[in-house]
Amino acid sequence: MSRLPERLPEQPGPGERLYRALLLLYPRRFRSDFGPAMIDLFHVRRWQYLSEGGSFVALRFWTFVLRDLVGTALPERFGPLAARLFGSGEGEGEGAPRALATKTRGLGMESMWGDVRYAIRRLVRTPGFSALAILIVALGIGVNSAMFSVLNAALFRPLPVGIRMALGAGRSQVIGMVLSEVMSVVGVGAVIGLGLAWAATRGLGGLLYGVSTTDPVTFVGVVVVLGAVAFLATLVPARRAARANPVTALRYD
């Protein structure tokens, strides 16, 4: 009845394993309902692409698969949420993806995909804003990794104080030394950060709500809060390190 092969030889190569892993993008329910059938169709499509041959056949096949996957897994998983996130709704003229999305809910299986395309279009049209958004996300990621390396350094690795203690430094001396070291790093970071923040204020003006870009309370508040966090994050492990037996601490230095 069709030119699709009814059953394909089982060949669980790396391609199928990758596709199985990618199926995790779909919600569990969808996966358990359709997963095996999707893998079957995956094989059929791959067989079709391979038998047609041509240049970059693997690339074309995986482009097809990934487009299909992203275009359906994301709306399947985040459908309503994404509509809320990306639907601008503020009378944005031609886009108005949200109105369309509600009207065609159910059949509009690509409504979220449409929203994403709309968002990308807007990003391309306003490169300054896009650059800023990307910068902010990058900074967020950077801050996270910095926080975790600090956490790691502070909580899981003994501080390098053993040698000082072995040389006769007292507890308070050790704590003071560690604190002053860390706080000077924090201070430098704060100055650099404040400078960057001030430089960014020009671009930020339109994005903030209820805060002026050079609001002194915000600037001071951020510095104080972050400084306090850094201080506590240093004090606790420093006290612990100072209490440790110098011989044990030496072993880690």
Partner: protein, 114 residues
């Protein structure tokens, strides 16, 4: 829901699935093959597109799950059948295309007609 469903053209995938089921119940792979054939391979439904469309079409009542015919011995296969609602949508869509073709003929856009 019917009026809202019919306001806009349905997605190409939805249309082709309805068309594939018009001649009888099929399972997912069968639908994919039927669509391949009907479009000479121009429309190749990906796994996600096919099964997500099927799921949503069942939800809005364009198609429904039906028990597999006796001759199919693979218990994993789920068969789908077009509903009355789905048939109506298909008719509206086909009429829309027919209309377009008629206009195109009148304007001599269609090759081989006058």
């Amino acid at each position: 829901m019917s009026s809202t469903v019919h306001e806009r053209p349905v997605k190409p995938a939805v249309f082709h699935i309805l068309l594939a089921l018009a001649s009888g119940d099929l399972h997912g792979l069968g639908i994919a093959g039927e669509v391949d054939e009907a479009t000479s391979g121009a429309m190749r439904l990906g796994p996600g597109t096919l099964y997500r469309s099927l799921k949503e079409m069942v939800e809005v009542g364009l198609i429904k799950d039906v028990p597999a015919p006796a001759e199919d011995d693979d218990p994993r296969r789920r068969y789908y059948a077009i509903t009355e609602e789905g048939g109506a949508v298909l008719q509206i869509e086909v009429a829309r295309f027919e209309n377009i073709v008629r206009v195109a003929q009148r304007k001599n856009v269609l090759p081989g007609t006058a």
